[in-house]
Symmetry: C2
């Protein structure tokens, strides 16, 4: 018998899954190993930035008051009493008509309140002493980076859940985070199902195809920030399947099966869910592809039954698994980033259900243009490789034409969306 299933809207399916998204765990890693991980706590300034008044230029520190009256015909002379590099501190306070030669980044010497850029001063020796003169006046504060003007000690700078990119790494170093609290990567178990599947290293035989979904999903798991654990292919035997799934669940935070969730006759997954006593959240969604996606929950762990069709499997991961992963990575924007784009090609098919079209978004003259990839049959196989967005066409719409504005969900934007 064909099992009856009641489709629910995509938004409701996502909402039902997110109720069980759970919370993340944290771990500590050395800063040098933190690139690409997600912050488990807000990054705060542990000191004022700059930590002291400093010079943004190579030049001379002076007391601005001494420069009063300087002009093209009235140079004012200063005795250069010391030279300090970045990281050095002046040995003595600076008095009237004295100056300190200093490098970019050096601390402003006591008594000084302005910096003269090197190229505005004329330096010379006289009687074994060093002097410099200037032909314009300076005001207190000129060319000084003041302590705390970039950030005050204790100020939160970056929210937890943010991915550590090179700029964040620089901030972590600046603020002394030799060790960084990051989100633990959720462990995601993966089973492939389908008696038609050959391993990647097996030669082709009639009627069979190689298992590609497992490798695709592993890459999606890594891309989303989690850790894949591949358990191999489920056997064609209910008893063996049940025990394999039951044992895998103890080792992972969530579990994905690909394939075997169609309305076909040979699907064991509903029986496995029942025997586990799992709470099936839904088993049909009003969407294409991926309508037969099933998600169940068991002891707080999610079981994702993704379609065996590669495109449906791909979309299922991005819509339902990714936001759970990102929530565990402390993101408040766990969903794919959303944008509007202009259709760059006709899409004449009607859409009885919400349709997710593998697409490519390009910026052309500052506007986002979206085109489906794999419209030509010859490209179907490569469409996922070239897609950087899902074009989302609402159910109940007829075809769309060049120039129409459509919604796109971006696959390669790491920032995400809160809903």
């Amino acid at each position: 018998m064909v099992e009856r299933r009641t489709p629910i809207p995509v938004a409701e399916a996502i909402e039902r899954v997110m109720r069980y998204a759970g919370v993340g765990e944290e771990e500590t890693v050395p800063l040098r190993q933190s690139y690409g991980r997600y912050l488990a706590e807000d990054l705060r300034a542990d000191h004022d930035v700059p930590p002291f008044d400093r010079s943004p230029y190579d030049g001379f520190a002076i007391r601005a008051a001494d420069s009063e009256g300087a002009g093209l015909d009235h140079p004012v002379e200063f005795e250069v009493i010391e030279t300090i590099g970045a990281g050095q501190v002046a040995k003595q306070p600076v008095g009237p008509f004295q100056a300190v030669r200093l490098m970019t980044g050096a601390q402003i010497p006591e008594g000084c309140d302005a910096v003269v850029m090197l190229e505005l001063a004329k330096q010379y020796e006289r009687d074994g002493k060093t002097y410099m003169s200037i032909k314009r006046s300076f005001r207190p504060g000129d060319n000084i980076s003041f302590q705390g003007e970039d950030a005050k000690k204790g100020q939160p700078l970056i929210e937890k859940g943010t991915r550590i990119n090179p700029g964040v790494a620089a901030l972590l170093a600046t603020f002394g985070y030799a060790e960084v609290k990051v989100a633990k990567r959720p462990r995601i178990g993966i089973f492939a199902t389908g008696s038609e599947l050959l391993d990647v290293s097996e030669p082709l035989v009639p009627g069979k195809i190689r298992n590609s979904n497992a490798y695709m999903i592993e890459a999606q798991v890594l891309k989303s920030g989690a850790e894949p654990i591949y358990f191999g292919q489920l056997a064609d035997d209910l008893e063996a399947c049940f025990h394999a799934v039951r044992e895998a669940l103890d080792q992972v935070d969530m579990l994905i099966t690909t394939g075997g969730v169609s309305v076909g006759d040979f699907d064991y997954l509903p029986a496995i869910y029942e025997r586990l006593g799992a709470n099936v959240l839904f088993n049909k969604i009003a969407m294409r592809p991926g309508s037969v996606t099933t998600v169940a929950e068991w002891n707080g762990k999610l079981l994702f039954g993704l379609s065996g069709n590669p495109s449906a499997c791909y979309v299922g991961y991005e819509l339902f698994v990714r936001p759970v992963v990102r929530t565990r990575l402390f993101s408040t924007k766990p969903h794919l980033k959303k944008a509007k784009a202009t259709l760059g090609a006709d899409f004449p098919k009607p859409n009885p259900f919400t349709r997710f079209v593998r697409s490519r978004v390009e910026a052309v003259d500052g506007r986002l243009i979206v085109k489906p990839v794999g419209m030509d049959k010859s490209n179907i196989v490569t469409s996922l490789a070239f897609a950087n967005a899902l074009m989302v066409l609402p159910g109940g719409t007829r075809g769309f034409a060049v120039g129409d504005e459509v919604d796109v969900w971006l696959l390669d934007d790491d920032e995400g969306s809160s809903e």
Copy 2:
């Protein structure tokens, strides 16, 4: 004395560097470890896709000719002689008014040339035999995915130099690439210089700041697809510096120093280049920030002398080092991806030289809008963390205003640009 330097245009600086970009090397990794690596050879179909005529639906395979004349009032009956799952092959050829029940993905049995979708057929038993009937006719080819319609054996599908994303991983698996030839990650040595630098784990002391550039650059190296090797901080001694640089060069494909390349008095790098006999490609560029960037070449290895200023250092990496890395990863689009965007905030500063402004690009109603990050002084310190683009303002221009169209170079787009 202050060394005299002659600035060259940005485009010329990039061109001079790219002359020494060199060529990549390849290595073989298991498919499972290939995510995020770059293909070292074109990915080709090793077989037709689909590899045989197959059914895209659950249903019944028939001979279309037998359905002729079927209609709402004239059902045509077929005997169901066999049931095959995906991966199975029919045991016998199909004769007139016979059908085979088959699952999505199953091979079309010999003799059949159309598939009836499950929901269009009525199935029943009679006298111990299984039958199904249909009330419409089918044409030859209906609901069949033909062998080779997605890809022909031998057809190149993905260019070398492409990053392995989940879709590419799926293709590699489909075509039996259990091992994948990928580009070796270039090894990039990193030295920090600057007597003002403290290690990230050291407490702050007057006049000093923590070394953040080394960690930032390491993350940029990883992001661009290369392997960083940090050699620590160069000592304040020319002889020791020279030997450290000379020894490091034997262990890496290229070398980065950050800091110590200013026109300040304490810079040893020009002396080191001279003693090495390195060919200095340029030591000043007509750009902000990063005008004092120096690049030299020694025995085919590039030495990048990036500024100690974090923003200049960051920009220097993306403009000069990244395209070299990507060339070694076999990309034909090694440079940052370029786009046009509309300014979302005034930028009143004049631009005597080409200016690269740390910016954030967002798609708003399908248009790219760019805003500088870190315009407010309080954000300077976090500007690199939030930037996803460099806004490029040509030298010789006055300020720009809201609504102006400007060039942006995208920092997070992996695809890149050929120039």
